[in-house]
């Protein structure tokens, strides 16, 4: 029977959770890299045993780990993320210009076609690619050198490139999201980029509909329909049906349309999941109730999923990379919280169980479907 492997990154190490296809019982392995911030771990769609992990601390900077055996053993690979040429400046919090400085890798996205090729989204915002399984990294500098680059401004979490979506039908089409610059798309494998923010509106900006400057928190897609994208923005849940050329608001009846993660059902491209939190100033679930909201109509009409989730005194958050889906049937949905719980639903969100409850704050969750 096939199974699921969850790659969980936390503030103080990584954990690997595994189950068979029933997803009833879970083995918990960890902490790996104890004491380090594990922003993201991800597996290759080509070879599920090929894993990449972003490991960092404020003391020692960035380290990248690779596993070739599904996380049993790890090897340290290249950690030199050098911006191409003279990196220039972006806008700082006070409006002055600030030099581009590498801080950490937020997100690792393995290629859908080659296990040795992997992309890294970093702070200060840029995208790097390795074609030798993480040994060396080269910036796709056309993104950072976009003419709007000096207007990009960090969000509260830093100027981070946190989302990388690769179109499985056309790997040259890459869509990324940056807080707080917005969405950018390349149709030539990352050489050139253009903003893809038409339809976004942010009242935090003096020109609410400007081309760049939006604080996009996360984008998700179903691989079978890669031109349909769903976005959780600083405020507002959005969708695009033209690969990001234009966006429409689909917040509908959500109790709050502020949040961080968003995910799409593995088999139903119109089924979407978000976890609303109260506001930009209160990153907690409304009314102390942890509720995942599901739309089965591609947005606008949302239902609260609560079975198995705490419905009183709950004030945890779910960060942008901390929600994922598997590809089993029925599809599984997973998320981790800043309180250290990892919740699993093996039935598309109808019922939830905590796999573990007391991990360090969860930064990321990736679900791998194992053969």
């Amino acid at each position: 029977m096939s199974g699921v492997r969850l790659l969980v990154g936390t503030r103080k190490g990584a954990f690997v959770l595994t189950s068979d296809g029933t997803r009833d019982e879970w083995d918990v392995n960890g902490p790996l890299f104890a004491g380090w911030e594990m922003y993201h771990l991800n597996g290759s769609p080509v070879d599920p045993d090929r894993l990449y992990a972003s490991q960092s601390t404020g003391w020692h900077g960035q380290v990248i780990q690779r596993s070739d055996d599904g996380g049993k053993t790890w090897e340290t690979v290249g950690n030199e993320f050098a911006y191409d040429g003279v990196p220039g400046t972006h806008q700082w919090y006070d409006g002055t210009q600030h030099p581009w400085e590498f801080a950490r890798v937020w997100h690792l996205e393995p290629s859908p076609t080659d296990a040795d090729t992997v992309y890294a989204g970093v702070e200060d915002a840029a995208i790097f690619r390795s074609t030798d399984a993480g040994q060396t990294w080269h910036e796709l500098s056309g993104l950072r050198e976009h003419e709007s680059g000096d207007q990009w401004q960090p969000g509260a979490g830093g100027l981070c490139l946190h989302t990388i979506l690769i179109n499985p039908h056309d790997p040259n089409r890459i869509t990324v999201a940056i807080s707080a610059a917005g969405v950018f798309r390349s149709d030539d494998g990352g050489e050139t980029w253009r903003p893809a923010n038409k339809g976004l509106r942010s009242r935090e900006l003096p020109d609410e509909e400007r081309e760049v400057g939006h604080c996009v928190h996360r984008i998700a897609m179903n691989p079978s329909r890669p031109d349909t994208l769903f976005m959780q923005k600083h405020w507002h849940v959005m969708r695009s049906d033209d690969g990001g050329d234009s966006w429409a608001k689909v917040s509908g009846n959500l109790p709050s349309d502020f949040g961080f993660p968003i995910a799409v059902h593995p088999h139903e491209p119109e089924t979407v999941y978000v976890v609303p939190i109260k506001s930009d100033s209160e990153h907690v679930p409304p009314d102390g109730k942890l509720r995942v909201y599901r739309s089965q109509t591609g947005g606008n009409e949302w239902e609260a999923l609560t079975n198995g989730l705490p419905q009183e005194h709950c004030y945890v958050n779910v960060l942008r990379d901390a929600m994922s889906v598997d590809a089993l049937d029925p599809g599984g949905v997973y998320f981790g919280t800043t309180g250290g719980q990892v919740y699993a639903s093996p039935d598309g969100g109808d019922n939830w169980t905590a796999i573990v409850r007391d991990l360090p704050a969860v930064l990321s969750v990736e679900a791998q479907t194992l053969p």
């Binding site: 020692h60 900077g61 380290v63």
Partner: protein, 98 residues
Amino acid sequence: MIRVVLPQHLRTLAGVEGEVALDAQERPTQQTVLDALEATYPVLRGTIRDHGTAKRRDFIRFFACGRDITLDAADEPLPNEVASGAEVFRVVGAMAGG
């Protein structure tokens, strides 16, 4: 022989326990010791000093002979006791964080 003590995270990363012993140098400095350390343990590149610029990371300090020598010039000779191996060159993670 030059003896180097690393903080826990770097010992784990380098796969070493206790002190690290480097070949003796005629006139060791912070820079030559760190160069030798990184050459012996390439996994430490970028974790003490930045790639490219070799600038010390903000939360790293260097101690020797009971003294904080972090702000000494990188090419200033280390104390004789470190050069002789009588004392250790200590790489320290600054008190910060939680």
